[in-house]
Symmetry: C2
Subunit: 371 residues, 2 copies
C-alpha cells in the first residue's frame, strides 16, 4: 500500500486550518463532466477487501433532484462498521459508503425550489453515499449550510459536533457553572464537548488515557477550554468535587465503557445521568446496584443517526446546524485534529481510522477535489 | 435459639388470611399501661448481637403528639441493613428499629385535630421505630388508613405494594395489553407487581430461579395473575415476544442484577426502561454498550424511602395509600406469603429474613399484641 501523507493539522493552529483550505478553491471548481469517481462495495466485509474505486457514468438529473459535487467527507468509525455489515443501519447493496461531508450544488432539477447552484450542502439522511466526486440526490436529502462556512468544518459538522451538542442539551438541564465529566476527552466528540462547554459556561472534567506526552495533551485540551484533564488514575483519586473546587457533575459522557466508565460514574452527583455514545474498550458498562437505587443515577445512550431519523428537516435540526455553523464561522469552535487524503488514497484513511482506535484523536477526511 | 412456629399463611388462601386475624382482636385491645416493650440498638452491628429486648417507661404525651399502640410490623431486609449501619438512611443512636407497620391510636394530644382514638395508622416517615408495643409520635409522622382494612395488609402496605405501584406508574406510560417483565417474580414486591398488572390489564412475564418445586411455584404465581413464569434458563431462550404471543416489554423490573438482569434487559423493546430496586445476586448490573446506543434502553433505580422523603403528606402519597388499601379491602390484592412471630421472638424473624435471601418469599411480621 502506498501511503501518501497529504497534510496534518492540529486544532490549536486555527489560522492554519482555515488558510490551508481556502474557499476559493471550491468555488471555482464547477464541473460539467458526466463521469463520477467513486468508492463502492457490493458485499459487506473488511473495507480494504470489499471497497472498489472506479469511474461510472452520472445518471440523468430528475426534476426533483440536485446534482452535488462532494468536496470533503470524513471517515468515521461508523462508516467502517457499516461497510463491515456490523452497524445497525444497513444500506442496500451495492452501496457507495460515506455518511457525512460537504458538497456544492452544481445543477438543480426543474422542480427544485430551495437550492441554487453554488449552495453548500450536507447530506440530510443516513447512508446517502458521500465517498464519490458527485451524485444526484433528492432535494429533501440535502441540507443547506451557510456558504461562508469553512468547508472543513462543514464536512465534519453533522456527526461529532451535533453529537456533543445534543448530549449537552437533551439529557440534563445544565446551567452556567455546572460540571460535565467525560471520558475520551481527546476524541473528536470530546474536543467539541470541551469547546461547547466553554462557550456555554459549563465546567468540564475530561478523563484521558495516560501516555508519554500526557502533559502536552493536557495543555492542548486546556487551550480548547478544558477546566481539568485527568488520567484514569487521577480521576479515581481526585478530590476536585469533595474540595468543592468544581460542582459535582450532573452529566457524564461516556465513549469508553468498562472500568473507566464505572469510575467516571462514581463522580456523578445524586440524580446524575451518564450518557453512553461509544464503547472503545469493547467492555459493557458496569452499574453498581446501589448507584441506581440510592444515588438515583440514570444510564442512557445516544445515537446521532437515530436522532436524525426522528428529526430530519425539523426546526430543531436546522437551528442546531445553523448554531454550530455560526460557532465555527466565529472561530469559537475549531475542527479537531485531522488529516486530508485524496479519495483514491482511501485505504490510508480507513486503515489508520481502524488502527488508531481513538488513541491519536486524528480524524481522516477524504478529499474529493483532489482525485 | 428457640424457634416458635406461630402461623404460616399463603396468599392463595385469601379467606384464611383475613379470617385468621380478625379485626376485633385489635379493636378490643386498648391499654392504659405506661410501660413499653421494645427492641433497641445502641450501636450498629449484626442484629442478633446488638438488639436488646426490654421494658421502658412511656414518656409524657405532648400536645402535638399521638400515642400509638403498634399491632404488626414486618421485618424487611432494609430494616436489617439499617441496624447493620449499611443502609444509607441512618437513624441517630440509640434507636428503635422498624420502618413499617400498622398501629392504633390510643390517645391524642390536646392540639391534635386530625386523629381520634381507634384510628388505624401507618408510620409516615423513615425510621420512626415500630418494633415496640407503643410510642408517642408527632401527628405529622403518622398517616391514617381506613379502619376496616385488614391489619395484616395495612402492616405491609407502605413498602412493598407501594414500591410495585410506583415502579409501574412512574417510569413508562403503560397501556392495557403492554407487557412488564420482572425477575424475582416470587418476591414480596414481585407478587404485588403480578397482581397490580392483572388489575390494570398489563401482561406480566416473571422470571424466577429454578427449584425442585418449580411447577408448584409457577401455578401459585399464575393464580395471582401472572401471564408467564419462566426460569432464568427459559427466559433466555423464550420466543414469547418473537412469536408475538405477548407484546415486547417496555418496562423491566429488576431486584436481582448480575447475569439475570442482563438476560431480562435483552428482552426489552427499543426505548425500554429497566428499573432496579434490589440486587439480591450482589452483582452489579451489566449493560452492553450497544443496548444503550442502538436500542436506546434506559437504566434507572427506585428507592421507596427516597420517594417518601420527597412526597410525604402529598396528595400523590395519600391517593396511592388509599388506592392500595381499597384493593386489599376488595381482596383484589392479597398479602404475600408471611409468618407472624411475637415481638420477643424477633431473632427468628431476623435470622430467617437474612438467610432466606429472597428464596422462600416468606415475609416475617412481628406481632406486638402477643408479647
Amino acid at each position: 500500500m502506498v501511503v501518501q501523507i497529504v497534510k496534518v493539522m492540529f486544532p490549536l493552529s486555527r489560522l492554519h486550518v482555515t488558510k490551508s483550505f481556502p474557499l476559493m478553491r471550491f468555488m471555482s471548481s464547477l464541473s460539467s463532466d458526466s463521469s463520477v469517481r467513486s468508492l463502492l462495495y457490493k458485499e459487506y466485509g473488511e473495507p480494504v477487501e470489499v471497497l472498489q474505486f472506479g469511474d461510472s457514468a452520472l445518471g440523468k438529473l430528475e426534476g426533483n433532484q440536485v446534482l452535488v459535487k462532494w468536496l470533503l467527507s470524513p471517515v468515521n468509525p461508523a462508516d467502517i462498521n457499516t461497510i463491515q455489515g456490523k452497524y445497525p443501519s444497513k444500506p442496500p447493496l451495492p452501496a457507495v459508503p460515506g455518511n457525512e461531508g460537504v458538497g456544492e450544488v452544481v445543477a438543480v432539477g426543474t422542480n427544485v425550489q430551495n437550492f441554487s447552484i453554488g449552495d453548500r450542502v450536507l447530506p440530510n439522511g443516513n447512508n446517502l453515499g458521500t465517498w464519490r466526486t458527485k451524485g444526484n440526490y433528492k432535494a429533501e436529502d440535502l441540507l443547506k449550510v451557510p456558504s461562508d462556512i469553512d468547508p472543513l468544518a462543514a464536512s465534519v459538522l453533522k456527526v461529532n459536533p451535533c453529537t456533543a451538542y445534543r448530549m449537552l442539551r437533551d439529557f440534563v438541564q445544565l446551567k452556567p457553572g455546572d460540571t460535565v465529566i467525560q471520558n475520551g476527552g481527546n476524541s473528536a466528540v470530546g474536543q467539541i464537548v470541551i469547546q461547547l462547554c466553554r462557550i456555554w459556561d459549563y465546567k468540564t472534567v475530561s478523563v484521558v488515557r495516560d501516555r508519554p506526552d500526557i502533559l502536552k495533551l493536557k495543555e492542548q485540551l486546556k487551550e480548547l477550554g478544558a477546566n481539568e484533564v485527568l488520567t484514569e488514575d487521577e480521576a479515581r483519586k481526585t478530590d476536585l468535587f469533595k474540595s468543592k473546587k468544581l460542582a459535582v457533575p450532573k452529566l457524564a459522557l461516556n465513549c469508553v465503557s468498562g472500568q473507566n466508565a464505572l469510575e467516571v460514574s462514581r463522580q456523578l452527583a445524586n440524580g446524575g445521568v451518564m450518557v453512553t455514545y461509544g464503547g472503545m474498550s469493547r467492555e459493557p458498562v458496569t452499574v453498581p446496584t446501589a448507584s441506581l437505587i440510592f444515588k438515583d443515577l440514570t444510564f442512557k445512550g445516544f445515537w446521532m443517526s437515530a436522532w436524525y431519523k426522528k428529526h430530519y428537516g425539523s426546526k430543531e435540526q436546522i437551528d442546531m446546524i445553523n448554531e454550530i455553523a455560526q460557532l465555527f464561522k466565529e472561530k469559537k469552535l475549531v475542527v479537531p485534529p485531522h488529516k486530508l487524503v485524496p479519495l483514491n488514497n482511501y485505504r490510508e484513511a480507513i486503515v489508520n481510522t481502524l488502527n488508531a482506535g481513538g488513541k491519536t484523536g486524528l480524524k481522516y477526511i477524504l478529499d474529493m477535489t483532489n482525485v
